[in-house]
Protein backbone atom coordinates (compact mmCIF):
# COMPACT_ATOMS: atom_id res chain seq x y z
CA UNK A 1 0.00 0.00 0.00
CA UNK A 2 1.48 3.39 -0.93
CA UNK A 3 1.91 5.82 1.98
CA UNK A 4 -0.95 8.20 2.68
CA UNK A 5 -0.76 11.74 1.32
CA UNK A 6 -0.77 13.36 4.74
CA UNK A 7 -0.53 11.51 7.99
CA UNK A 8 -0.58 13.41 11.27
CA UNK A 9 0.28 11.37 14.30
CA UNK A 10 0.00 12.49 17.93
CA UNK A 11 0.52 16.16 17.10
CA UNK A 12 1.09 18.51 20.03
CA UNK A 13 1.50 22.28 19.97
CA UNK A 14 1.93 25.02 22.54
CA UNK A 15 1.58 28.79 22.70
CA UNK A 16 4.05 29.60 25.43
CA UNK A 17 2.95 27.43 28.34
CA UNK A 18 -0.58 26.74 27.16
CA UNK A 19 -0.97 23.31 25.65
CA UNK A 20 -3.28 23.72 22.65
CA UNK A 21 -3.00 20.51 20.61
CA UNK A 22 -2.98 17.38 22.76
CA UNK A 23 -2.28 14.51 20.42
CA UNK A 24 -4.11 15.19 17.18
CA UNK A 25 -4.14 12.17 14.85
CA UNK A 26 -5.73 12.12 11.38
CA UNK A 27 -4.93 11.61 7.72
CA UNK A 28 -5.84 12.85 4.25
CA UNK A 29 -5.65 10.71 1.11
CA UNK A 30 -4.91 11.81 -2.44
CA UNK A 31 -7.70 13.84 -4.01
CA UNK A 32 -9.85 13.76 -0.88
CA UNK A 33 -11.81 16.63 0.66
CA UNK A 34 -11.53 16.26 4.41
CA UNK A 35 -13.44 18.54 6.76
CA UNK A 36 -12.02 19.57 10.13
CA UNK A 37 -14.75 20.83 12.43
CA UNK A 38 -14.99 22.04 15.98
CA UNK A 39 -16.05 24.97 18.12
CA UNK A 40 -14.23 28.31 18.15
CA UNK A 41 -10.85 28.19 19.83
CA UNK A 42 -10.60 24.41 19.78
CA UNK A 43 -7.33 24.49 17.84
CA UNK A 44 -8.24 23.90 14.19
CA UNK A 45 -6.17 26.81 12.90
CA UNK A 46 -3.33 25.81 15.18
CA UNK A 47 -3.39 22.33 13.67
CA UNK A 48 -2.87 23.75 10.17
CA UNK A 49 -0.22 26.19 11.34
CA UNK A 50 1.67 23.41 13.12
CA UNK A 51 1.59 21.30 9.95
CA UNK A 52 2.95 24.23 7.94
CA UNK A 53 5.67 24.77 10.53
CA UNK A 54 4.43 28.22 11.46
CA UNK A 55 3.78 27.02 15.02
CA UNK A 56 6.41 24.59 16.36
CA UNK A 57 4.93 21.05 16.20
CA UNK A 58 5.69 18.01 18.35
CA UNK A 59 4.79 14.61 17.05
CA UNK A 60 4.89 13.20 13.57
CA UNK A 61 3.71 14.78 10.30
CA UNK A 62 4.35 12.71 7.19
CA UNK A 63 3.76 13.78 3.61
CA UNK A 64 3.72 10.70 1.33
CA UNK A 65 5.70 8.90 3.99
CA UNK A 66 8.33 11.62 4.43
CA UNK A 67 8.65 13.19 7.87
CA UNK A 68 8.15 16.97 7.58
CA UNK A 69 7.45 17.98 11.19
CA UNK A 70 9.47 21.05 12.16
CA UNK A 71 10.58 22.09 8.68
CA UNK A 72 10.54 25.87 8.18
CA UNK A 73 7.31 27.01 6.45
CA UNK A 74 8.92 27.77 3.10
CA UNK A 75 10.21 24.20 2.86
CA UNK A 76 6.90 22.67 3.89
CA UNK A 77 5.32 24.71 1.11
CA UNK A 78 7.88 23.51 -1.42
CA UNK A 79 7.11 19.91 -0.44
CA UNK A 80 3.61 20.45 -1.78
CA UNK A 81 1.50 21.82 1.07
CA UNK A 82 -0.61 24.87 0.36
CA UNK A 83 -2.12 27.11 3.02
CA UNK A 84 -5.02 29.54 2.78
CA UNK A 85 -5.18 31.39 6.11
CA UNK A 86 -8.42 32.54 7.69
CA UNK A 87 -6.97 36.07 7.74
CA UNK A 88 -6.59 35.76 3.94
CA UNK A 89 -3.41 37.81 3.95
CA UNK A 90 -3.54 39.05 0.40
CA UNK A 91 -0.75 41.51 -0.42
CA UNK A 92 -2.82 44.70 -0.54
CA UNK A 93 -0.28 46.93 -2.28
CA UNK A 94 0.28 44.51 -5.16
CA UNK A 95 -2.09 43.95 -8.06
CA UNK A 96 -4.24 40.85 -8.44
CA UNK A 97 -1.88 39.54 -11.09
CA UNK A 98 1.18 40.17 -8.96
CA UNK A 99 -0.45 38.38 -6.03
CA UNK A 100 -1.00 35.37 -8.28
CA UNK A 101 2.58 35.52 -9.56
CA UNK A 102 3.91 35.35 -6.02
CA UNK A 103 1.97 32.12 -5.57
CA UNK A 104 4.29 30.43 -8.05
CA UNK A 105 7.18 28.76 -6.32
CA UNK A 106 10.73 29.75 -7.19
CA UNK A 107 12.23 27.67 -9.98
CA UNK A 108 9.10 25.65 -10.72
CA UNK A 109 7.35 25.85 -14.05
CA UNK A 110 4.57 23.92 -15.70
CA UNK A 111 2.35 23.37 -12.68
CA UNK A 112 -1.19 22.05 -12.91
CA UNK A 113 -2.66 25.54 -12.73
CA UNK A 114 -2.11 28.58 -14.89
CA UNK A 115 -3.25 32.12 -14.43
CA UNK A 116 -5.67 31.53 -17.31
CA UNK A 117 -7.30 28.69 -15.32
CA UNK A 118 -7.80 31.05 -12.40
CA UNK A 119 -9.34 33.74 -14.59
CA UNK A 120 -11.52 31.08 -16.21
CA UNK A 121 -12.91 30.01 -12.85
CA UNK A 122 -13.24 33.55 -11.55
CA UNK A 123 -13.87 36.03 -14.36
CA UNK A 124 -14.14 38.75 -11.70
CA UNK A 125 -10.45 38.37 -11.01
CA UNK A 126 -9.62 38.76 -14.67
CA UNK A 127 -11.54 42.02 -14.88
CA UNK A 128 -9.54 43.30 -11.94
CA UNK A 129 -6.18 41.80 -12.83
CA UNK A 130 -4.39 45.13 -12.63
CA UNK A 131 -6.26 46.45 -9.60
CA UNK A 132 -4.50 46.57 -6.27
CA UNK A 133 -5.68 43.60 -4.25
CA UNK A 134 -6.44 45.85 -1.29
CA UNK A 135 -9.40 47.27 -3.22
CA UNK A 136 -11.10 43.90 -3.76
CA UNK A 137 -14.26 42.91 -1.87
CA UNK A 138 -14.03 40.29 0.86
CA UNK A 139 -15.30 37.55 -1.45
CA UNK A 140 -12.91 38.50 -4.22
CA UNK A 141 -10.04 38.52 -1.75
CA UNK A 142 -11.00 35.03 -0.63
CA UNK A 143 -10.97 33.78 -4.23
CA UNK A 144 -7.63 35.47 -4.77
CA UNK A 145 -6.04 33.74 -1.76
CA UNK A 146 -7.24 30.34 -2.89
CA UNK A 147 -6.04 30.96 -6.46
CA UNK A 148 -2.72 32.32 -5.22
CA UNK A 149 -2.08 29.11 -3.30
CA UNK A 150 -3.12 26.96 -6.28
CA UNK A 151 -0.54 28.74 -8.44
CA UNK A 152 2.08 26.97 -6.33
CA UNK A 153 0.71 23.61 -7.53
CA UNK A 154 0.19 22.01 -4.11
CA UNK A 155 -0.79 18.35 -3.63
CA UNK A 156 -2.82 19.34 -0.59
CA UNK A 157 -4.43 22.70 0.17
CA UNK A 158 -5.34 23.48 3.75
CA UNK A 159 -8.09 26.09 3.76
CA UNK A 160 -9.09 27.87 6.94
CA UNK A 161 -12.73 29.06 7.07
CA UNK A 162 -13.03 30.17 3.43
CA UNK A 163 -16.70 31.10 3.64
CA UNK A 164 -16.53 33.29 6.74
CA UNK A 165 -18.25 36.60 6.14
CA UNK A 166 -19.27 35.83 2.55
CA UNK A 167 -22.68 36.29 0.97
CA UNK A 168 -24.68 33.07 0.33
CA UNK A 169 -24.02 33.40 -3.38
CA UNK A 170 -20.31 33.72 -2.80
CA UNK A 171 -20.38 30.73 -0.45
CA UNK A 172 -21.89 28.67 -3.29
CA UNK A 173 -19.20 29.90 -5.62
CA UNK A 174 -16.39 28.93 -3.23
CA UNK A 175 -17.98 25.51 -2.63
CA UNK A 176 -18.06 24.84 -6.37
CA UNK A 177 -14.43 25.92 -6.68
CA UNK A 178 -13.35 23.50 -3.94
CA UNK A 179 -15.15 20.72 -5.75
CA UNK A 180 -13.41 21.62 -8.97
CA UNK A 181 -10.00 21.68 -7.27
CA UNK A 182 -10.55 18.21 -5.83
CA UNK A 183 -11.67 16.90 -9.22
CA UNK A 184 -8.32 17.97 -10.61
CA UNK A 185 -6.63 15.73 -8.06
CA UNK A 186 -5.71 18.24 -5.37
CA UNK A 187 -6.61 17.10 -1.86
CA UNK A 188 -8.25 19.59 0.49
CA UNK A 189 -8.21 19.90 4.25
CA UNK A 190 -11.13 22.20 4.95
CA UNK A 191 -11.65 23.97 8.26
CA UNK A 192 -15.22 25.13 8.23
CA UNK A 193 -17.66 26.72 10.64
CA UNK A 194 -20.78 26.18 8.51
CA UNK A 195 -21.84 22.59 9.07
CA UNK A 196 -24.08 22.50 5.98
CA UNK A 197 -21.24 23.34 3.59
CA UNK A 198 -18.85 20.93 5.29
CA UNK A 199 -21.39 18.11 5.14
CA UNK A 200 -22.14 18.86 1.51
CA UNK A 201 -18.65 18.87 0.02
CA UNK A 202 -16.47 16.77 2.35
CA UNK A 203 -15.73 13.11 1.67
CA UNK A 204 -14.73 12.53 5.29
CA UNK A 205 -14.96 14.62 8.42
CA UNK A 206 -13.12 15.00 11.70
CA UNK A 207 -14.43 16.80 14.76
CA UNK A 208 -12.01 18.36 17.24
CA UNK A 209 -12.58 18.91 20.94
CA UNK A 210 -10.17 19.85 23.73
CA UNK A 211 -7.17 19.71 21.39
CA UNK A 212 -7.90 16.18 20.15
CA UNK A 213 -9.88 14.46 17.41
CA UNK A 214 -13.14 13.27 18.98
CA UNK A 215 -14.97 11.99 15.89
CA UNK A 216 -14.12 10.60 12.49
CA UNK A 217 -16.66 9.60 9.85
CA UNK A 218 -18.51 10.32 6.62
CA UNK A 219 -20.96 13.21 6.29
CA UNK A 220 -23.83 10.73 6.59
CA UNK A 221 -22.39 9.30 9.80
CA UNK A 222 -21.95 12.76 11.33
CA UNK A 223 -25.49 13.75 10.31
CA UNK A 224 -26.91 10.85 12.25
CA UNK A 225 -24.54 11.22 15.24
CA UNK A 226 -26.74 13.59 17.23
CA UNK A 227 -24.79 13.16 20.45
CA UNK A 228 -21.47 14.14 18.85
CA UNK A 229 -23.00 17.20 17.21
CA UNK A 230 -24.61 18.29 20.48
CA UNK A 231 -21.50 17.80 22.56
CA UNK A 232 -18.81 19.14 20.20
CA UNK A 233 -20.37 21.35 17.56
CA UNK A 234 -23.58 23.07 18.55
CA UNK A 235 -23.37 26.14 20.73
Amino acid sequence: MPPRLLEVDNLNAYYGKSHILRGVTFHVDEGEIVGLLGRNGVGRSTTIKAIMGNVPPRGSIRLRGEEIAGLPPYQTARKGLGYVPETRDIFPGLTVKQNLQLGEKPGEVGGRWTMEDMFGMFPQLKDRADTRAGFLSGGEQQMLTICRTLMGDPSLVMIDEPTEGLSPMMVEHVARLLDEIAKRGVAILLVEQKLTIALKISHRLYVMGHGKIVFEGTPAELSSADAIRKEWLEV
Binding site: M52, N54, P72, P73, Y74, T76, A77, R78, Y83, P85, D89, F91, P92, G93, L94, Q98, Q101, L102, G103, K105, P106, R148, T149, G152
Partner: protein, 311 residues
Protein backbone atom coordinates in the same frame (compact mmCIF):
# COMPACT_ATOMS: atom_id res chain seq x y z
CA UNK B 1 19.83 85.80 -3.82
CA UNK B 2 19.27 83.69 -6.95
CA UNK B 3 22.63 82.00 -6.56
CA UNK B 4 21.95 81.35 -2.88
CA UNK B 5 18.68 79.64 -3.74
CA UNK B 6 20.16 77.64 -6.62
CA UNK B 7 23.12 76.35 -4.68
CA UNK B 8 21.19 75.70 -1.52
CA UNK B 9 18.56 73.81 -3.47
CA UNK B 10 21.19 71.69 -5.21
CA UNK B 11 23.01 70.98 -1.97
CA UNK B 12 19.77 70.31 -0.17
CA UNK B 13 18.61 67.80 -2.75
CA UNK B 14 22.06 66.20 -2.71
CA UNK B 15 22.09 65.91 1.07
CA UNK B 16 18.51 64.64 0.98
CA UNK B 17 19.30 61.95 -1.60
CA UNK B 18 22.29 60.83 0.48
CA UNK B 19 20.05 60.59 3.52
CA UNK B 20 17.58 58.57 1.50
CA UNK B 21 20.28 56.13 0.39
CA UNK B 22 20.64 55.26 4.05
CA UNK B 23 17.08 55.76 5.25
CA UNK B 24 15.68 53.49 2.53
CA UNK B 25 17.65 50.49 3.78
CA UNK B 26 16.93 51.33 7.40
CA UNK B 27 13.20 51.56 6.86
CA UNK B 28 13.00 48.41 4.68
CA UNK B 29 14.84 46.47 7.36
CA UNK B 30 12.60 47.89 10.03
CA UNK B 31 9.31 47.04 8.36
CA UNK B 32 10.41 43.54 7.37
CA UNK B 33 12.19 42.36 10.44
CA UNK B 34 10.93 44.79 13.06
CA UNK B 35 14.50 45.74 13.91
CA UNK B 36 15.65 49.32 14.33
CA UNK B 37 19.22 48.90 13.18
CA UNK B 38 21.38 51.21 15.28
CA UNK B 39 24.43 50.13 13.30
CA UNK B 40 23.09 51.38 9.98
CA UNK B 41 25.10 54.60 10.06
CA UNK B 42 28.15 52.49 10.88
CA UNK B 43 27.82 50.84 7.47
CA UNK B 44 27.95 54.32 5.98
CA UNK B 45 31.16 54.97 7.88
CA UNK B 46 32.61 51.62 6.83
CA UNK B 47 31.84 52.54 3.22
CA UNK B 48 33.83 55.75 3.55
CA UNK B 49 36.82 54.02 5.15
CA UNK B 50 36.81 51.07 2.76
CA UNK B 51 36.56 53.57 -0.10
CA UNK B 52 39.48 55.53 1.33
CA UNK B 53 41.64 52.43 1.74
CA UNK B 54 40.93 51.12 -1.74
CA UNK B 55 41.32 54.52 -3.36
CA UNK B 56 44.79 55.05 -1.95
CA UNK B 57 45.89 51.61 -3.12
CA UNK B 58 44.29 51.19 -6.51
CA UNK B 59 42.24 54.30 -7.08
CA UNK B 60 38.91 55.96 -6.44
CA UNK B 61 36.88 54.24 -9.15
CA UNK B 62 37.59 50.64 -8.07
CA UNK B 63 36.73 51.78 -4.55
CA UNK B 64 33.40 53.12 -5.73
CA UNK B 65 32.44 49.62 -6.84
CA UNK B 66 34.29 47.39 -4.37
CA UNK B 67 33.69 49.23 -1.10
CA UNK B 68 29.86 49.03 -1.22
CA UNK B 69 30.09 45.34 -2.17
CA UNK B 70 32.36 44.69 0.80
CA UNK B 71 30.07 46.59 3.15
CA UNK B 72 27.13 44.66 1.74
CA UNK B 73 28.92 41.39 2.46
CA UNK B 74 29.63 42.54 6.02
CA UNK B 75 25.95 43.41 6.38
CA UNK B 76 24.80 40.03 5.05
CA UNK B 77 27.15 38.22 7.43
CA UNK B 78 25.96 40.31 10.36
CA UNK B 79 22.37 39.30 9.56
CA UNK B 80 23.13 35.63 8.92
CA UNK B 81 25.37 34.91 11.89
CA UNK B 82 24.40 37.68 14.31
CA UNK B 83 20.88 39.05 14.06
CA UNK B 84 19.27 35.79 12.99
CA UNK B 85 20.51 34.08 16.13
CA UNK B 86 19.69 36.97 18.42
CA UNK B 87 16.21 37.19 16.84
CA UNK B 88 14.99 34.23 18.91
CA UNK B 89 15.71 36.15 22.10
CA UNK B 90 13.31 38.97 21.23
CA UNK B 91 13.34 42.60 20.16
CA UNK B 92 15.22 44.04 23.11
CA UNK B 93 18.14 41.71 22.43
CA UNK B 94 18.09 42.68 18.77
CA UNK B 95 18.26 46.36 19.66
CA UNK B 96 21.12 45.74 22.09
CA UNK B 97 22.90 43.71 19.44
CA UNK B 98 22.80 46.45 16.79
CA UNK B 99 23.68 49.02 19.44
CA UNK B 100 26.72 47.01 20.46
CA UNK B 101 27.66 46.46 16.84
CA UNK B 102 27.79 50.22 16.25
CA UNK B 103 30.33 50.56 19.08
CA UNK B 104 32.37 47.61 17.86
CA UNK B 105 32.58 49.06 14.36
CA UNK B 106 33.57 52.46 15.66
CA UNK B 107 36.31 50.99 17.88
CA UNK B 108 37.64 48.86 15.04
CA UNK B 109 37.74 51.82 12.69
CA UNK B 110 39.72 53.76 15.30
CA UNK B 111 42.12 50.86 15.79
CA UNK B 112 42.83 50.50 12.07
CA UNK B 113 42.71 54.10 10.84
CA UNK B 114 43.23 56.15 14.03
CA UNK B 115 41.11 58.75 15.74
CA UNK B 116 41.92 61.61 13.37
CA UNK B 117 40.13 62.26 10.07
CA UNK B 118 41.77 60.55 7.10
CA UNK B 119 42.65 62.30 3.85
CA UNK B 120 40.06 60.75 1.53
CA UNK B 121 39.86 62.59 -1.78
CA UNK B 122 37.72 62.37 -4.85
CA UNK B 123 39.35 61.47 -8.19
CA UNK B 124 41.44 64.19 -9.90
CA UNK B 125 39.34 63.71 -13.01
CA UNK B 126 36.39 65.25 -11.18
CA UNK B 127 38.43 68.10 -9.79
CA UNK B 128 36.95 70.91 -11.85
CA UNK B 129 34.19 73.45 -11.73
CA UNK B 130 30.88 72.15 -13.03
CA UNK B 131 29.30 75.55 -13.54
CA UNK B 132 29.45 79.09 -12.31
CA UNK B 133 26.60 81.37 -11.35
CA UNK B 134 27.64 85.01 -10.89
CA UNK B 135 30.65 84.74 -8.60
CA UNK B 136 29.99 81.33 -7.04
CA UNK B 137 31.15 78.00 -8.43
CA UNK B 138 29.76 74.52 -8.07
CA UNK B 139 32.27 71.63 -7.98
CA UNK B 140 31.92 68.76 -10.47
CA UNK B 141 32.36 66.23 -7.66
CA UNK B 142 29.08 67.36 -6.14
CA UNK B 143 27.29 66.91 -9.45
CA UNK B 144 28.80 63.44 -9.59
CA UNK B 145 27.49 62.66 -6.10
CA UNK B 146 24.07 63.86 -7.12
CA UNK B 147 24.04 61.67 -10.25
CA UNK B 148 25.10 58.58 -8.31
CA UNK B 149 22.38 59.19 -5.74
CA UNK B 150 19.71 59.73 -8.39
CA UNK B 151 20.87 56.67 -10.35
CA UNK B 152 20.68 54.56 -7.19
CA UNK B 153 17.19 55.82 -6.54
CA UNK B 154 16.04 54.85 -10.03
CA UNK B 155 17.66 51.41 -9.79
CA UNK B 156 16.15 50.78 -6.36
CA UNK B 157 12.71 51.78 -7.53
CA UNK B 158 12.96 49.57 -10.63
CA UNK B 159 14.19 46.61 -8.57
CA UNK B 160 11.37 46.94 -6.07
CA UNK B 161 8.54 47.43 -8.52
CA UNK B 162 9.63 45.58 -11.65
CA UNK B 163 11.37 42.41 -10.50
CA UNK B 164 10.07 39.28 -8.85
CA UNK B 165 12.43 39.67 -5.91
CA UNK B 166 11.17 43.22 -5.52
CA UNK B 167 7.56 42.00 -5.41
CA UNK B 168 8.49 39.37 -2.82
CA UNK B 169 10.17 42.06 -0.74
CA UNK B 170 7.12 44.32 -1.01
CA UNK B 171 4.85 41.47 0.05
CA UNK B 172 7.16 40.49 2.90
CA UNK B 173 7.01 44.06 4.23
CA UNK B 174 3.46 43.45 5.38
CA UNK B 175 3.05 39.65 5.45
CA UNK B 176 6.39 37.86 5.94
CA UNK B 177 4.72 34.69 7.28
CA UNK B 178 2.37 34.38 4.33
CA UNK B 179 5.20 34.91 1.86
CA UNK B 180 7.13 32.07 3.49
CA UNK B 181 4.11 29.79 3.35
CA UNK B 182 3.94 30.30 -0.41
CA UNK B 183 7.37 28.69 -0.60
CA UNK B 184 9.68 31.70 -0.63
CA UNK B 185 12.83 31.52 1.44
CA UNK B 186 12.10 34.50 3.65
CA UNK B 187 15.20 34.22 5.86
CA UNK B 188 17.32 34.50 2.74
CA UNK B 189 15.30 37.51 1.59
CA UNK B 190 15.98 39.12 4.98
CA UNK B 191 19.71 38.53 4.54
CA UNK B 192 19.57 39.97 1.04
CA UNK B 193 17.72 43.08 2.12
CA UNK B 194 20.01 43.61 5.09
CA UNK B 195 23.06 43.19 2.86
CA UNK B 196 21.65 45.46 0.14
CA UNK B 197 20.70 48.08 2.74
CA UNK B 198 24.23 47.98 4.14
CA UNK B 199 25.69 48.23 0.63
CA UNK B 200 23.54 51.28 -0.13
CA UNK B 201 24.67 52.95 3.09
CA UNK B 202 28.23 51.98 2.17
CA UNK B 203 27.88 53.58 -1.25
CA UNK B 204 26.63 56.76 0.40
CA UNK B 205 29.78 56.66 2.55
CA UNK B 206 32.08 56.15 -0.42
CA UNK B 207 30.78 59.16 -2.28
CA UNK B 208 30.19 61.38 0.75
CA UNK B 209 33.57 60.61 2.35
CA UNK B 210 35.64 62.90 0.10
CA UNK B 211 33.10 65.73 0.28
CA UNK B 212 32.53 65.63 4.02
CA UNK B 213 34.99 64.43 6.66
CA UNK B 214 35.94 60.76 6.94
CA UNK B 215 36.40 60.28 10.67
CA UNK B 216 35.43 57.76 13.38
CA UNK B 217 32.66 60.00 14.68
CA UNK B 218 30.83 60.22 11.35
CA UNK B 219 28.45 57.38 12.22
CA UNK B 220 27.55 58.85 15.57
CA UNK B 221 26.97 62.25 13.98
CA UNK B 222 24.69 60.88 11.28
CA UNK B 223 22.78 58.20 13.19
CA UNK B 224 20.28 60.44 15.00
CA UNK B 225 19.40 62.34 11.80
CA UNK B 226 18.62 59.02 10.09
CA UNK B 227 16.20 58.07 12.82
CA UNK B 228 14.57 61.48 12.56
CA UNK B 229 14.14 60.86 8.82
CA UNK B 230 12.40 57.52 9.17
CA UNK B 231 10.21 58.64 12.06
CA UNK B 232 9.17 61.86 10.30
CA UNK B 233 8.49 59.89 7.11
CA UNK B 234 6.51 57.28 9.01
CA UNK B 235 8.15 54.07 10.20
CA UNK B 236 8.22 51.52 7.45
CA UNK B 237 7.15 53.82 4.62
CA UNK B 238 9.61 54.07 1.76
CA UNK B 239 7.79 57.00 0.16
CA UNK B 240 7.70 58.70 3.53
CA UNK B 241 11.43 58.19 3.98
CA UNK B 242 12.01 59.75 0.57
CA UNK B 243 9.91 62.83 1.30
CA UNK B 244 11.41 63.24 4.77
CA UNK B 245 14.96 62.87 3.44
CA UNK B 246 14.48 65.64 0.91
CA UNK B 247 12.62 67.79 3.43
CA UNK B 248 15.36 67.54 6.01
CA UNK B 249 18.10 67.90 3.41
CA UNK B 250 16.60 71.11 2.07
CA UNK B 251 15.64 72.44 5.48
CA UNK B 252 19.14 72.09 6.87
CA UNK B 253 20.92 73.43 3.82
CA UNK B 254 18.71 76.46 3.55
CA UNK B 255 18.96 77.11 7.26
CA UNK B 256 22.76 77.04 7.10
CA UNK B 257 22.68 79.49 4.23
CA UNK B 258 20.48 81.95 6.09
CA UNK B 259 23.00 83.80 8.08
CA UNK B 260 20.67 86.36 9.52
CA UNK B 261 18.65 86.58 12.67
CA UNK B 262 14.99 87.17 13.30
CA UNK B 263 15.95 90.70 14.36
CA UNK B 264 17.08 91.44 10.81
CA UNK B 265 13.86 90.14 9.36
CA UNK B 266 11.25 91.49 11.74
CA UNK B 267 13.14 94.52 13.03
CA UNK B 268 14.92 94.97 16.32
CA UNK B 269 11.83 95.46 18.44
CA UNK B 270 11.35 92.00 19.79
CA UNK B 271 8.81 91.17 22.44
CA UNK B 272 10.94 91.51 25.61
CA UNK B 273 10.65 87.88 26.63
CA UNK B 274 11.93 86.76 23.21
CA UNK B 275 14.92 89.07 23.30
CA UNK B 276 17.57 86.34 23.27
CA UNK B 277 15.86 84.28 20.61
CA UNK B 278 15.65 87.32 18.36
CA UNK B 279 19.43 87.53 18.13
CA UNK B 280 20.07 83.86 17.26
CA UNK B 281 20.75 83.44 13.55
CA UNK B 282 18.87 80.84 11.59
CA UNK B 283 22.19 79.23 10.64
CA UNK B 284 22.87 78.64 14.31
CA UNK B 285 19.58 76.80 14.54
CA UNK B 286 20.36 74.53 11.56
CA UNK B 287 21.61 71.54 13.55
CA UNK B 288 18.44 71.41 15.64
CA UNK B 289 16.09 71.92 12.69
CA UNK B 290 15.54 68.18 12.11
CA UNK B 291 14.57 67.71 15.73
CA UNK B 292 12.21 70.66 15.66
CA UNK B 293 10.63 69.12 12.59
CA UNK B 294 10.43 65.78 14.36
CA UNK B 295 8.58 67.29 17.31
CA UNK B 296 6.21 69.23 15.06
CA UNK B 297 5.39 66.19 12.92
CA UNK B 298 4.87 63.98 15.94
CA UNK B 299 2.44 66.52 17.42
CA UNK B 300 0.43 66.90 14.22
CA UNK B 301 0.73 63.33 12.86
CA UNK B 302 2.01 60.82 15.42
CA UNK B 303 2.39 58.14 12.71
CA UNK B 304 4.75 60.30 10.65
CA UNK B 305 4.00 61.85 7.27
CA UNK B 306 3.15 58.61 5.44
CA UNK B 307 3.13 56.09 8.25
CA UNK B 308 0.19 53.89 9.08
CA UNK B 309 1.34 52.04 12.16
CA UNK B 310 0.69 53.36 15.63
CA UNK B 311 3.90 52.65 17.49
Amino acid sequence: MLQLITFSALNGVLYGMLLFMMASGLTLIFSMMGVLNFAHASFYMLGAYFGFEISRRIGFWPGLVLAPLLVGAVGALVERYGLRRVHRLGHVSELLFTFGLAFVIEEMVQMVWGKLPVDYRGPPSLDFVAFRLFDTTYPAYRMFMLSVAVAMFVVLLALLTRTRVGLIIQAALTHPDMVAMLGHNVPRIFMLVFGAGAALAGLAGVIAGPALVTQPAMATLLGPILFVVIVVGGLGSLTGAFVASLLIGLLQTFAVAMNFSLAEVFGPTAPPFLDDLWRVTIAQLAPVMPYILLVLVLIVRPTGLMGTRES
